[in-house]
Amino acid sequence: MITVKTPKGCKLKIAGKPSLDLDRLATPASVAMLPARIPFVKPRLKVKIGDRVKIGTPLFEDKRRPAIQFGSPGGGVVDEICFGPRRIIKAIVIRLDDNEEHVQFTSLTAQDIEAATRDDLIKAMQDGGVWPFIKALPFRDIANPEEPVPGIFVNLGASEPFLPQSQVYLRNATDLFESGINLLRKLTPHVYVTRPPGKAPVVKALKHLITHTCKGAYPVDDPGVQLYHSKKSSDENRSWYIDGQDLLHLARFFETGRYPIERIMVSGGNLAHANKHFITRTGIPLATLGGCHDGQAAAGARFIVGGLFRGYTSEIDSYMGFYENALTLIAEGDEKEAFGFMRPGYGKPSSSNTFLSVYNPSDIKTDCGMHGERRACINCGFCVNVCPVDILPQFTYKCVRADEVEESLANGLLDCVECSLCTYVCPSKIELCARFKQAKEAYYKELT
């Protein structure tokens, strides 16, 4: 058992934490797939408006690797295909039938899986639209089955404030989880399971599968952090990873032979209508997911899909994407504040000791304000203190800005897990992480 500790990181006390309660949401009138929100993919559409689709019918494939299919999240009629600038496909909306049909893929028992070849399994997952759940470090693109796999990390953590908790989605699903692990073992013998920090009761049942434990705060349980602190050689850099809940989908896909649409999602943030977990399905409209009360969102709320640090801002009339299971609503925070820099700040969130909020035991209302203006870097080193993978963000930033590729890589650019903690703490409000992401992407494009 490997224990990963990051003494660094920051304690985030953000108000609006979702409870572990689980409610069922009613089926919406339509669901959608958002190709533009899937990183790196170049979608080639396989349907047009008016087509009838079943659950699991391929809606598009990845032009880069056409074997990879993306299945329909619902059965019904393709109602709308929304394009964005440069004809990116923003959404494929399906109006649902009352009785939705499924595409029937082959279902496999544990013995079948044991007997199947690696290639057969990969092909089945690609055809069934579940392969994209498996991603590869360090670029976090969909895993390429032709490349060697040093290992797969299964991530049970959700220390980013407010993602679905593994103790909720693993309830009654420990067997399913175990068959998922067996499935992954067909891809590589090195399957690692990280136990999330804290004391989740369900995870105890899976004790025999756990290979990594961790201590610390966000993002200590991120697969990238786990890899960085446990790798023995550079060969492991291209390890794969999968989210714990997504592994259940893989297992369910083989168990039922159907494209899995059920999801456990979470709605949080101090402006959310309900702060808890929901059983629902992939691709639902945001408004359904606790964001609204009688069709009305809280005034001044920002809809954040996929987490406060790594997620994106969404319109209220949009849908949940393929990977996203979390909606967070907090205030936009665009109000000016008089003499803000002199206030004692008992209610102001900060990881520094410069506000009285260090002595505030409760969670603190947090908004999307910058809380200051962009300034030059003063080399205060706050960013260094929070980076979970020992990067020196302020120096790496300089290399990246100067386009020094070799130098940036030597500084560990590719180890960056894109957690944005450096951006969060920077008193000069420098968006370090965004820049690192860009640089990684540019380098990735050069490689491929």
């Binding site: 003499f339 908004d367 200051g372 080399n379 008193p427 968006e431």
Partner: protein
């Protein structure tokens, strides 16, 4: 209460916006407005949430930490002045007399410095950085109280323009701007910056003024064979006085006690690095004890001085706490900070002992180490990166 101010800014904004008649002065408008209001910007990319700490608050803490030094300095300047003029230094008259001397220094420092800041901000079309709030106060606190105001203006101009702006402004400067100005004055106008007469303002010239030498001067002039300690005590500078700071010296740097209050605040809120400060103290003690070993009956009195005296004499405490910890001009890595602090402490003592002409060794030591800070970082980072498993 804030409403009318808010409205005032909102009404005037268009004149400073692009195309407005005062477009060029936008940085000034922005700086003034953001002094009153944290601007209502929300995150556009990267993390959705941000820490509440910004540079303005960061710098405000340094100013807050300087307040004990400033207040005590005002009192002390007045006290020394009254004493020298043969008057009884009661609290209130001392403070009033001190204010008369110190306030003009600070006002000139801020006004002239801001003039340059604004000018460069307009030329560069950049925001005005808060760093100057600190520089503008640090600088006068290091000066002798008798300094003519025009020299304050020249010094701060040098500090801001040559020490900072030619490098590209706050964040890019290698040297600490306040210190740069101070050192410039020291070399350009040595008469005004040294000698016994400059440390006390004597208002009543007719009175039989007696201005004392500073403890450093006393120590430097101690004949060999006598100990510095006795020389200090007979000059009425026992170690308690040195700690408290009630003796002639630069405006705000005499009181070790006041400096320590500031240091505690800065370390607790995490704005100054304790590594630099402790490193500095260790440096002074280490070299001090080393010199003790070299001392003999006939050698310089300095050599046998108990090193703890070095810590409380002159501007060492002020320098290591407020100047050396300036994040921009000090190294960024923790290991380099220890070395940097240590070297400053060591150099301070060496300069004091072996070059009594530059009695105020700490300034030169810090400026010198400022130059080496990038190099220290370079080696520490190189060491650190060697340990990383490559990921390419």
């Amino acid at each position: 209460m804030m409403k009318p101010i808010r409205n005032l800014f909102d009404a005037q904004r268009r004149h400073f916006a692009q195309g407005g008649k005062f477009e060029r002065f936008h940085p000034l408008f922005e700086a003034t407005e953001s002094f009153f209001f944290i601007p209502g910007l929300s995150t556009q990319s990267d993390a959705h949430v941000r820490d509440s700490l910004d540079l303005k608050r960061f710098m405000s803490f340094v100013i807050l930490a300087l307040m004990p030094c400033l207040c005590f300095g005002i009192y002390n300047v007045g006290y020394q002045s009254l004493m020298a003029s043969g008057k009884y230094p009661a609290l209130l008259p001392a403070v009033i007399s001190g204010l008369q001397t110190v306030l003009p220094l600070i006002i000139v420092s801020y006004t002239v410095g801001f003039f340059w800041e604004i000018l460069f901000a307009i030329i560069r079309k950049k925001e005005i950085s808060e760093g100057f709030l600190v520089t503008g106060l640090l600088f006068p606190l290091t000066l002798p109280p008798t300094i003519p105001l025009w020299q304050v203006a020249v010094g701060i101009s040098f500090g801001v323009v040559i020490g900072k702006e030619v490098f590209g402004g706050t964040g890019r400067n290698i040297l600490n701007p306040a210190l740069c100005g101070r050192v410039f004055l020291f070399f350009a106008y040595p008469m005004r910056m040294s000698g016994d007469a400059v440390w006390t303002v004597v208002s009543d010239k007719t009175a039989d003024a007696l201005s004392g030498a500073t403890p450093l001067a006393v120590a430097a002039l101690t004949p060999s064979g006598e100990t510095v300690e006795t020389a200090l005590t007979s000059a009425n500078y026992p170690i308690e006085t040195l700690c408290l700071g009630l003796y002639p010296g630069s405006v705000g740097a005499t009181s070790v006690l006041a400096c320590l209050i500031g240091a505690t605040l800065l370390i607790v809120v995490g704005i100054a690095s304790y590594r630099t400060i402790i490193g500095g103290v260790i440096g002074v003690l280490a070299v001090g004890y080393l010199l003790n070993l070299l001392a003999s009956e006939t050698s310089m009195a300095w050599l046998s001085l108990n090193p703890w005296h070095h810590l409380v004499m002159g501007g060492f405490a002020f320098g290591i706490i407020f100047m050396a910890t300036d994040p921009v001009s000090s190294p960024g890595m923790n290991a380099s900070k220890w070395i940097y602090g240590f070297a400053i402490g060591a150099l301070t003592v060496l300069i004091r002992v072996f070059n009594p002409a530059y009695a105020e060794g700490v300034m030169l030591a810090i400026i010198f180490m400022n130059l080496f800070a990038p190099l220290l970082d370079y080696f520490v980072i190189w060491q650190r990166l060697r340990k990383r498993l490559a990921n390419v």
